[in-house]
């Protein structure tokens, strides 16, 4: 279970302080799929970065299985991310000097036969067998995103953070990527940010963010109707 209490984030905007998130309280159960939905600048990515410990909150706490994790030191946070979290970014952020297989192995930092076998199996499921030894610049956008999905899931994270994972893809590829994410996340929790509700299936809990606050908690049909 991931929980946050009184989470706020302010940043300096010139001489003024701007509040990006204001007093967010949230509980995400294990295995749940949650979508942060909202326009650009609403604070959805910031909230995801806070929950995933990539960013430090101005005030508030984050709990993972009832253990407070926001106040941990930098190395401890990195260890939590490595063990429990998986990340998919809009721009993929694959390492260009590594090939596809090596990129998938990044979270494990291992090129043992066992790890390679595991990664190869994963890549086969994502229909990337032909790309295993290719460099990142040789891949299409859709392929890159599938490699990023494989990288995020290879070590079996309990929570998968996906920040606008389909924003750089066409609609067909976006639906395909989302299908793969849902299929392969297993029993893990999915936390997703998006401004495109067409990729959602209706199984997700949707939290609408506006001006740094959660304003509505809805399901897909409500959002689309609204």
């Amino acid at each position: 279970m991931l929980q946050c209490k009184n989470l706020s984030l302010t940043c300096k905007d010139g001489e003024h302080e701007r509040e990006l998130l204001h007093d967010i309280n949230l509980v995400i159960e294990t295995g749940e799929s949650v979508v942060f939905f909202g326009p650009s600048g609403s604070g959805k990515s910031s909230l995801m970065y806070l929950l995933s410990l990539l960013r430090v909150a101005t005030t508030g706490e984050v709990y993972l299985d009832n253990n407070e994790i926001m106040s941990q030191n930098d190395n401890a946070k990195a260890a939590i991310r490595k063990k429990h979290f998986g990340f998919i970014f809009q721009q993929y952020f694959l390492l260009p000097h590594l090939n596809v297989l090596e990129n998938v192995l990044v979270p494990e930092n291992s090129i043992s036969t066992k790890s390679k076998q595991k990664a190869t199996t994963f890549l086969e499921k994502l229909e990337l067998t032909a790309c295993i030894n290719k460099k990142i610049h040789q891949l299409s956008g859709g392929e890159c995103q599938r490699v990023a999905i494989a990288r995020a899931l290879i070590h079996g994270p309990t929570i998968l953070f996906a920040d606008e994972p389909t924003a750089a893809l066409d609609h067909k590829s976006a639906l395909s990527a989302m299908k793969m994410i849902r299929e392969h996340k297993g029993n893990g929790t999915l936390i997703l940010t998006t401004h495109d509700t067409s990729i959602l299936t209706g199984q997700e809990r949707i939290l609408k963010l506006e001006h740094g606050k959660i304003t509505e908690i809805k399901h897909k049909n409500f959002v689309q109707a609204g």
Binding site: Y49, A79, F87, Q90, F93, H97, L98, N109, S110, I111
Partner: protein, 376 residues
Amino acid sequence: MKNAKLFTALKYFKSNTKQSIILFSTLTISTSCIYFIFSIISSMLACTKHIILLPSEKFSYIETNQQLQMQDEMITKVKAFPEVKKTINSTLSGICFRSISAYLDTHVLTIPNPADLNYIANYINLELSNGRLPIEAKAEAVFHENILKNLNLKVGDLITSGTIKTPHLIGDYKIVGSFTGDLIIGIASAPASYNNNSSGIIVIPKEGKLNAINTKLKSLDPNGTRTLTYSREKSRIEIATSLPLIIFKIIGSAILITLSFCISAFSSSIYLKRSEEFGIMHAVGYDKSFITKLIIKELANLTCLAYIFGCAISMAIITIINHFIFSPKGQNLTILTAKGFLGTAATLATMFLFAGIPILRRLTKWNPISVIERRN
């Protein structure tokens, strides 16, 4: 392969061939230059020490100040010192040897007594490489083969006094032989006209008594004598090498500092371009100490490889230069030098620090989210 890690020290550079070649070549060439500079300075000092200092480690010399005949009374006094093994009547003169750094005055010992001449030849382990030793009552000389090469002379030639290279030579000699060995000197028999009138004596000490005898010889100075001892020769070296050394050190330091800054700036720029890679690694769970260690390992590996290749290239270049330029002139650049290895290592370590510290300082302050958000 079983427990092999993905992020190894040279992984990035193996995958970025072009960048790696540029960085590695720059580091290697710089290392070569640094080793070469150290080698030149070491060679300069070694050559000077070899020519000036080595003879005075074997024997001392005492002569009258006015280069007149040495008084019997003085010779008796010196012979009476318990530290003295043997004294040999001799006149010391010199010829110019063009070393790497400067013109050095090398010793020519004119020894009238053939038995003494043979004794000194044995004492200094002289090994004839060509010709023979001088014969009694003839103005003949043997020289270390490096001197002959340096002066462009050969066995059978006549070496005359008063030329630009032989201003202090006391007579004209026929060169009858050349030798090899530690001491770069000349040994001559006295001309008939010389009639056994040596202006000084070679003082050969008993084993381990060189310092003691030198102290006693020095105390004779007020009595109208001049001594050639180890400490006096050391002072000569300092005078002979001080100016060239300062110039070398200034030029060398300027080159080293410039190289250090260029290499450091270059490698820093490569690493700063990789901040996205490090940001992603940190985001997916690698802590900063892992990334720091990876950077240090990468830089250390590159530096070590550049050190090995750079020194090897430099040594190859020095060998070639020695063979074609210096060796024919009887000079030598030192190829293997401890100062070269240590100095180069120290300079590379400085470069390593110059390059590494700004990268690591930035890494400690930097936040991976800035990389992710910039792209988003």
